[in-house]
Each structure stands twice: as C-alpha cells, then as structure tokens.
C-alpha cells in the first residue's frame, strides 16, 4: 500500500493512508453495521410470516400498495436531490447545495408523512396494531426503525442546512455533506429492500392464512 499518495492538505494532518477521509471511512463501516441491524429485523419478519397464527392479518387486505409505491418513489427522488446537493458542494456551489438539501429534507418529510398516514390507517381502519398480531409486531418494528432512520436523516439535513449559513462554510465541508449523502442513500436502499421483502413479496408469494 503506497504512502506517497497520502495528501497533506492541512499542515498538521499527516494525511490518511488510503486517501479516504476518516469521516467517510467511519460512515462506510457504520453502514455495514447498520445493514446487519436491518438484516436482523427483516429476517425476523420473513421468518414469522411463514407461520401465521389464527387471526393474523392478511397483508394484501391491509396494505395500500398505491400509496406505498408513491412514497417509495418520493424517497428515491429524495436520493436524487441528495446527490445533487453533494455535487453542488463539491463544485463549491453553496447556494445550490442549500436548495437541494432543503428539497431532500422536504421529500423525506413527505415520505414520513405517508408513513404516519399509513400507520394510522392500519391501526384505526384495518385494526392491525403492534401488539395484536405477530405481523403487526414485526411490520411496525421494522418500518418504524426505518422511519426513525429517515427522521434522524431529516434532522441531520436540516442541521446541515442551517450550518451552511455560517461564515466559512465552503467546498472544504464537502466531506461532511458526502457522509450525510452516504447515510441518506443507505436509508433509501434499505427501504427498497423493505418495500420488496415486506410489501411486494406478499403479492407474489402470499402465505395462506390459518383458519
């Protein structure tokens, strides 16, 4: 592994052995760990859906797949906005970055809003709660954890937005925005997996309910 490529940018900084900034490497490792968190939650859901007890909700009768498809699309678009924000700050365009960040957060909030509506709908109209069935327990824990990740991301986005108004915020802060971008894309990808394994799967490989 060559050391000649380590760039001294900050006079007191010996550089990094790989050329990847510390924060970015940290976030990649964190995402590997977070994968395992979601993997365990998704596995629990997939294991339990195989043996539904009597009274377990029938997923296709509960889900509003059109709404969820819409919110999935919105989240995907938010990732596009995030990519634009990162690109903007890498070119030093702080104003463009700010508006892209705000749009990302806005789309994230729409996603969350759809989740809230969906949960309310499941609880009060379809009578599926986190406690009254195993499907409810695994579904709400998994999607709730994901929603919490999105909410944390939105907070992070808005904090970064506010921070970008401070004097001195410029291209050198790109690593922070990139790290945030990695997190946001990760949350989006996890949702794609959840949408597939939890929602779409029920339509393709339904489990026959126990009478």
């Amino acid at each position: 592994m060559s050391t000649a490529t380590a760039t001294l940018s900050h006079p007191h900084d010996p550089g990094t052995a790989t050329g990847i900034p510390h924060k970015k490497l940290l976030l990649w490792a964190f995402l590997a760990s977070d994968c395992m968190f979601f993997g365990t939650l998704i596995s629990s859901h997939l294991v339990y859906r195989q043996h539904p007890p009597p009274g377990n909700p029938v997923a296709t009768q509960v889900f509003d797949i059109e709404l969820t498809s819409f919110s999935t699309f919105i989240l995907l678009m938010s990732s596009l906005m995030m990519a634009l924000a990162v690109n903007a700050i890498q070119r030093g365009k702080v104003r463009a970055m700010r508006s892209s960040l705000l749009t990302t957060a806005f789309f994230g909030l729409i996603f969350l809003g759809c989740q809230v509506w969906e949960f309310w709908h499941f609880v009060y109209e379809k009578h599926m709660t986190i406690t009254n069935s195993i499907f409810g327990s695994t579904f709400f824990t998994l999607t709730g954890t994901h929603g919490t990740h999105v909410a944390v991301g939105v907070l992070w986005l808005l904090s970064m937005y506010a921070y970008s108004f401070k004097k001195g915020f410029d291209q050198r802060n790109a690593v922070d925005v990139e790290s945030m971008g990695l997190y946001w894309h990760f949350v989006d990808i996890v949702w794609i997996v959840i949408f597939t394994a939890v929602y779409l799967l029920e339509y393709v490989y339904p489990v026959s309910p126990v009478r």
Binding site: D13, G15, L26, S137, T141, D170
Partner: protein, 646 residues
C-alpha cells in the same frame, strides 16, 4: 470524481478550516486531577481507565464465582437461596464477558494500537472517550439491580426467551439486563468503528497491512466481528424489550411468536462474541512469544490469514449451541461440520506459535510463563470444544458441566492467561516499572494449579451427568468429590489472582524502573520512552519491514537520518498537533445512562430527559469541532489552543 477529490482540499482534513467552532463549554486543559481524567481524549489514559474498571469487575466476577463454588462445595447446601444463585451465575457470566474480558481487551486496543502503527492517537479521540464512558454507563445499569428490590438479572448470561418475558420475570431485573447490554453494545460498536478507521487510515509511512503487528491485525478482525455481530443481539434485545414494554409478540407463543428465534439471534451474536474474546489474546501471544524466544513469529502471513478465517467462519457455526433443539438432520450436520472446520485455522495458529518457539533462545520471564500456559490450556479447551462439535456426543454434554469445563479452559486458560501475560509484559511501557519475577512466577503457579484443580474435574462431572446452573445436588449422584476439589481449586485460584493483583499494584509504585525497551522487543511501542510522552512519538517513524522496531535497532544510522529529516518537517509545520480534551463525550454518556436507567424503570419522562441530554451533548460536540493545540517534542501539556482560521 477522483479529480474532484484531488482538486479539493478536504482529503484527510479532520475539520474544514473555514467555520469557527461554537464552544458553549471551553475545552478543558487540565493535565492532572479529576477533570483531566474525566475529559481525557488521550488513548493512553482511556486505555488505563478501561483497564482499571475492567480489573474491578474482574474481581467482582471472581467473588460471584467463589460464592457459586462455595454453594456447591457439599451436596444439599443452603449457603444462598436458589434465586440468589441464579443471580450469581447470571452476573458472573455477564460480568466476566462484558465487563471484564472485553474491556480489558479494549484497554489494550487503546494502549497499543496507536503506538504499534506509529500514530499519535486514534482517528476519533472524542468518540474513543465516549465509548469508555458508555461502557461505564452499561456496567452501572447491569449492576444497579444488586441494590434494588428487583435484584440483579437472573435469567442466565444468555437470557433465553420466554424466561425474560414479563410473565416469567415480572420484576425489572430483566429490563436492567436487556437495557444494560444494549448500552454496552453501543460502546463496543462505536469503539470498533474508531479502531477500524485508525488501523486502516493512520498507519505510519511504510507500514503496509502485511507489516502490521499481529495484535493490530487481531484488533482489526475483532472490530469487524463486533460491528457485524452486535446488531443481531441488539435487535434481539429490542424484541425482548418491545415484548416487555409495548406488548409485542416476538416471543409470545399464543400470538405467533417463537422463543427459538431468540436462541438463533442471540447465538448469531454469541458465537462471534467468543472469537471477539479470544482473537485479541491470540494477538498478545503472537507478540510475546517472539520476544521471549528471540525469533520472529513463525508464519506471519498464515497466522494473520487464520485469524481472519476464524472470524469469517465464526459467523457460520452459531447453531452448535442449539444441537438439542430439534433443528433437523441437515442443519445439525451442517453446523457440526462448520464447527469442526473452524478448528483448522485455530490449530494452524498453535502450530505457528510452536514453530516460533522451536529453535529459539527461550527466556522464562513472567509473561512467557503465562504465554506458554496459554498455548497448553487453550489447546485443552479446544479439545473439549471439538468433542462438542460431534453433535451426537453433544446431546449428552449439552447443558452439563462438561460445557462449563470447556469454556473455562478457553476463557481462563486461553483469554485470561493471555491477558495475565500481557499485563506484566506491557506494564513497564506504561508505568515505567517492572513486575518482580519471584511474585509474578508465584502467582502464575498458584493460578495455574488452582485453575486446573477447579475446572479439570468438571469434565468428569459433566460426563457423569451433572447439569449446569443447578443450585444444589443430592449426595448420592457421585458428584461430591468432583465438586469439593473444584471448590478448593477455586479458592486456590482466587488466592493466586490476589497475589497477582497485589503484585501488579505494588509494581506500579515500587517496581524496578524500566527503560524504553526492557525486553529487547520487536514492535514500535518499545521505541519510545516509558511511560510514553503525551504525543507518543517525537518524530513519526518510517517503517521498512515487519517488526519495525527490530529493524530500526539493526539499522540505527538509516533510522537516525530519516528521523532528523522528519523532525525538520514537523517543526516547520508548527509542531505536533494534539487533540483537545472535551466534556461532551462524558455528558453524552451520562445522558445515555439516564435514559437507560429510566427506561428500565418504565419512566417515559426520565427516558426523554436522558435522550435530550444525549442529543444536546452530541450537537454541542459536533459544533465544538475537533479543536486541538500544538506541542513541541519535550513539552508536555496544553500549549495555546488553535483557533479556526477565518
């Protein structure tokens, strides 16, 4: 993309020089006293703190063990109640694994890794301090039950569902256990992320991965194991917590839950966990044997590769803890095969250690005795482990004292002996004093004898049917002699540990003074003064070969020339850049402690207060920026703090 990276200024920069930091609380500058220790970000101080706390809990776990053994000294004993006995074996296991061995390993990660890779500190010093204080928070949550009516956790160190459900454990001891472990998990994951970035990114010039000391490799593999395995138990704990607090059905059979899921999720963590416990000790041994055999480690690449293989295969054997649960022939066979396979890289390492000793000039100092003891005792633990791998035989051994014998041979004979070797070996570096040979060797022989007297009989107790975790036994089972010998052995082991601890403490104050390199060793930590200065290296070394310090000793002129050139560079840059101390890691951990304790007591308000403190601390931590100040070699203590350039 690469061009953008190359053009922009941010490669490697910890903080953009642009934005001024927001400091609500000034960065503390105390170098001695309580504040210095509470706000330290110095990996050496953090390592010592981990070690001190871990030593305390090791002794506490030992007391719990002696109470267990005393209860079992004779049949039908009534020294303690059955419930208290359950608390004892639960807390003995939980304490020894999570509050003693893991933090002792963390102590060595902290003390050694930056020095061995030629760095001044870890990649994220404040995050490092956070890991330490969160560990303390977790330790408090786990042990506070001793002082409460609910009592300490009593569902076993592996807390099987549905024993941990509200129905079978209505008191909050189960909540303290689940929340306490969850908090400890945060500490472990955060620390591991830090060490992964440190080892990959902060290596000195010339230090390629295949020139890393084996201990650093083991730290890296262990860190990856931690970040990938802990999520499994974290989610399993979430599921138990949700069942207890919110009425979900994860392990509620009447509504579709299956307790066996807990076993799978726990052991998917639990098996990598035992490799997390043993890989760093294998690292210590791989450093100590070459020094006292005066030979380089035999087969370095294969030792490293075997360590990685053990970590990798370790994810595929978890259900060997579940052979008797009726998984079916295919699953049982697959896990039995994988378990036997993992013995291969383990055996390869042992052969390489023997190869290191073979033909060497052996010096029987205290660390070497413990290291040799490790090789033999760990092998014995491995032999009983291989016996478990045969699933039909395991049907008799499971849940018997044979298992207790196996894991104590690998955990005491293995992990603990390696730790007991590492302490006198590296004590001279960090305290500047040596452990006296006579008392060190006396403690070794006492511990060795006591340990074998305690646990060897347990093989036979297990094969003769004595089950684990039973409070008492009848007089006509044929187990009386075995238990009596084991208990007497345990007292001898306890005495040996006391001699050892007393010797180490005495050595810190009155031991013979050591120079920088008392053992004529091979790795970079021995190239700096004992104890090391705050900045570790006056000049960052350039590495030319494995066993970098040994190379420097053989090439003194070349080394001196390089150092002179680098010293000029560093002085021209304004001196050595040191990270500034901070209050926020401590405050954030306090927030997590508050949240955890309140949540375990079902207090929503308290939990929210705790989370609020945590979030506020994290925000202020981010806003205060990395800070830092400059030192020149020979100086100690905070120079004028750097202010961000406008």
């Amino acid at each position: 993309m690469a061009e953008t990276l190359a053009r922009s200024n941010f490669i490697g920069a910890e903080a953009p020089a642009g934005v001024r930091p927001v400091t609500l609380l000034r960065r503390p500058t105390a170098k001695t006293g309580l504040v210095a220790w509470l706000t330290t970000v110095d990996h050496k101080k953090i390592g010592l703190l981990y070690g001190a706390f871990a030593a305390f809990f090791f002794l506490l776990g030992g007391v719990e063990a002696l109470l267990i053994r005393t209860q079992l000294i004779v049949p039908n004993n009534h020294l303690v109640s059955a419930h208290f006995y359950s608390e004892l074996f639960t807390m003995h296991g939980t304490t020894m694994i999570f509050l003693a061995v893991m933090p002792l390993n963390a102590a060595f990660f902290n003390l050694l890794v930056p020095l061995q890779i030629g760095a001044r500190d870890v990649a994220f010093p404040r995050l490092n301090a956070f890991s330490l204080w969160v560990f303390v928070a977790g330790a408090i949550i786990l042990n506070v039950g001793w002082f409460l009516q609910a009592g300490a956790p009593a569902a076993g160190w592996f807390g099987y569902a549905p024993l941990t459900s509200k129905l079978f454990t209505p008191d909050i001891s189960a909540d303290l256990w689940t929340v306490g472990l969850q908090v400890l998990g945060v500490s472990s994951i955060v620390a591991s992320l830090n060490f992964i970035v440190t080892i990959i990114n902060l290596r000195a010039p010339g230090l390629t991965m295949m020139r890393l000391p084996v201990f650093c490799w083991m730290t890296l593999v262990t860190s990856f194991l931690l970040i990938l395995a802990m999520p499994s138990i974290a989610i399993a704990l979430v599921e138990v917590i949700f069942d207890r607090h919110f009425g979900t059905n994860f392990f509620e059979v009447s509504n579709g839950g299956q307790p066996i899921l807990w076993q799978h999720l726990f052991w998917i963590f639990g098996h990598p966990e035992v490799y997390i416990l043993i890989l760093p000790p294998m690292g210590y041994i791989s450093e100590i044997l070459p020094t006292f055999a005066r030979k380089p480690l035999f087969g370095y690449p294969i030792v490293v590769f075997s360590g990685a293989m053990i970590g990798f295969i370790g994810f595929g054997v978890w259900s060997h803890h579940m052979f008797t649960t009726g998984m079916g022939v295919v699953a049982t066979s697959a896990f039995a095969l994988a378990t036997m396979a993992i013995a291969v890289p383990t055996g390869v390492k042992i052969f390489n250690w023997i190869g290191t000793l073979w033909g060497g000039h052996l010096r029987m100092r205290v660390p070497m005795l413990f290291a040799l003891g490790f090789i033999w005792m760990f092998m014995m633990g491995g032999f009983s482990g291989i016996m478990h791998a045969a699933a039909p035989a395991d049907t008799q051994q499971h849940n018997s004292y044979f298992v207790v014998a196996h894991f104590h041979y690998v955990l005491i004979g293995g992990a603990t002996f390696a730790l007991l070797a590492a302490i006198p070996y590296w004590l001279p570096k960090f305290s500047g004093r040596l452990v006296p040979e006579f008392w060190g060797k006396l403690s070794f022989w006492t511990i060795f004898t006591g340990f074998n007297a305690t646990f060897f009989p347990m093989h036979f107790l297990g094969l003769n049917g004595m089950p684990r975790r039973t409070w008492t036994y009848d007089a006509d089972m044929g187990w009386n002699t075995g238990n009596l010998v084991a208990t007497l052995g345990a007292y001898l082991l306890g005495i040996g540990i006391l001699i050892y601890v007393a010797t180490v403490i005495w050595s810190c104050f009155k031991g013979e003074r050591a120079g920088p390199d008392p053992w004529d060793a091979r790795t970079l930590e021995w190239s700096i003064p004992s104890p090391p200065p705050e900045y570790n290296f006056a000049v960052l070394p350039t590495v030319h070969a494995r066993d970098a310090w040994w190379y420097e000793k053989q090439h003194r002129e070349e080394t001196a020339r390089e150092e002179a050139a680098h010293a000029k560079d560093e002085a021209a840059h304004g001196g050595i850049h040191m990270p500034a101390q901070s209050w926020y890691p401590l405050f954030a951990a306090a927030g997590l402690l508050t949240a955890g304790l309140c949540f375990a007591h079902y207090s929503l308000a308290g939990s929210l207060v705790g989370v609020g403190i945590l979030l506020l601390s994290v925000y202020l931590w981010a806003l205060e920026g990395p800070g830092g100040y400059h030192l020149h070699p020979g100086e100690s203590g905070g120079g004028a703090p750097d202010h961000a350039k406008p």
